[in-house]
């Protein structure tokens, strides 16, 4: 099934420059509707109020981290099926294991490039 490039994509990061970078890369990949949140709790509120086809989240944020957001999403009956990609500088094996155990769909280590982003999104949503 082809990826709907009109789906709402939510990116979550406490660095505004990073939000801008990811949004630009997503737009250059063809995604038209990209929304931003600056921490996990803001993202969760947005997800409960709207429909998002993909979440791309940083890990290290306050007050709610990306991992906590992921756990909240997976515990919510309405949101638990949302594809979730972690994009983070946390690159230890135990981090990846924890994210995987919490139900992450893919994991990208910063710094990353557009090609890596495209590959991981394709792995989660299908080729585009």
């Amino acid at each position: 099934m082809a990826v709907d490039m009109n789906m709402n994509v939510l990116i979550v990061d406490d660095y505004k420059t990073m939000l801008r970078i990811v949004e630009n890369l997503l737009k250059q990949l063809g995604f038209k509707n990209v929304a931003q949140a600056t921490d996990g709790s803001m993202a969760l509120k947005m997800m409960r109020e709207g429909l998002y086809g993909l979440v791309i989240s940083d890990w290290n944020m306050e007050p709610m981290t990306g991992l906590q957001l992921l756990k909240e999403v997976r515990a919510d009956t309405k949101l638990k099926g949302t594809p979730f990609i972690m994009v983070t500088a946390e690159s230890k094996v135990e981090n990846v294991a924890a994210a995987k155990e919490a139900g992450v769909n893919n994991y990208i280590v910063k710094p990353f490039n557009a090609e890596t982003l495209k590959q991981k999104i394709s792995a989660v949503l299908g080729a585009f």
Binding site: D13, Y15, T17, M18, R20, I21, N24, L25, Q28, N60, A89, K110, P111, F112, N113, A114
Partner: protein, 219 residues
């Protein structure tokens, strides 16, 4: 009984016995007579100060001297300056690095946005090439997030050191605080020219070009 009182009692007792012995003999005492008297008097002190006590006191005094010396060495490196000046200054500088790179990154991305908008007016192959170029620039801008996080770690380490220094100062007491006073002004007075070499200023301390121009126009 204090050491001074014990010494006074010993002297009094010694003088009395020497005088009494001298009167009795009506002649100067020999070295052996004096040695016997001293031995007799000292033997009466047995139980007050033992040899092990003396060794213990001596070691305590040595320890006190070591602590005094260590305190002086710590005071000499002016530990108060570390938490009052050096660490806050270092963290401010690092914050400024993060701020400056963030500003620069945003400006670079602004230009990329402009190029992307202009690319839409170009021939398809040129448009494609320009978009590929701006994508690579956006990718490279990742550095700002990574350096920001690394600098945050360094700032946390500095704050940890600051906390430990503060705890050390508390443990060592006021004398280290007093002798470790600020030397910034002294240094500036001693070498004015050197004190002018401060490198880039933090935004809140810096003056802009218009202010410099205004100052240059004065006189």
């Amino acid at each position: 009984m204090t050491d001074a009182e014990r010494l006074a009692a010993l002297e009094t007792s010694l003088h009395k016995r020497i005088r009494a012995a001298s009167d009795a003999a009506r002649s100067p005492l020999s070295a052996d007579d004096i040695a016997n008297i001293v031995r007799e008097v000292v033997s009466t002190l047995t139980g007050d100060v033992t040899a092990s006590d003396l060794k213990f006191y001596s070691e305590l005094e040595e320890l006190a001297g070591y602590i005094r010396h260590a305190k002086q060495e710590i005071a000499d490196i002016k530990p108060k300056d570390i938490s009052a000046s050096h660490i806050p200054h270092a963290t401010d500088e690092l914050d400024a690095v993060v701020g400056a790179t963030e500003d620069a990154t945003n400006k670079i991305m602004d230009v990329c946005d402009t190029i992307s908008a202009l690319a839409a007016n170009c021939a398809p192959e040129v448009n494609e090439q320009l978009i590929a170029c701006t994508t690579r620039i956006f990718e490279a801008c990742n550095f700002q997030d990574i350096t920001g996080q690394r600098i945050t770690k360094v700032v946390q380490t500095l704050k940890y050191i600051d906390h430990k220094v503060e705890a050390l100062l508390q443990a060592l007491g006021e004398e280290v605080h007093r002798s470790g006073g600020h030397d910034t002004q002294v240094k500036e007075d001693a070498d004015l020219e050197k004190s002018l070499l401060n490198g880039p200023q933090l935004p809140q301390n810096a003056i802009d070009q218009s202010e410099i121009d205004r100052l240059m126009e004065q006189t």
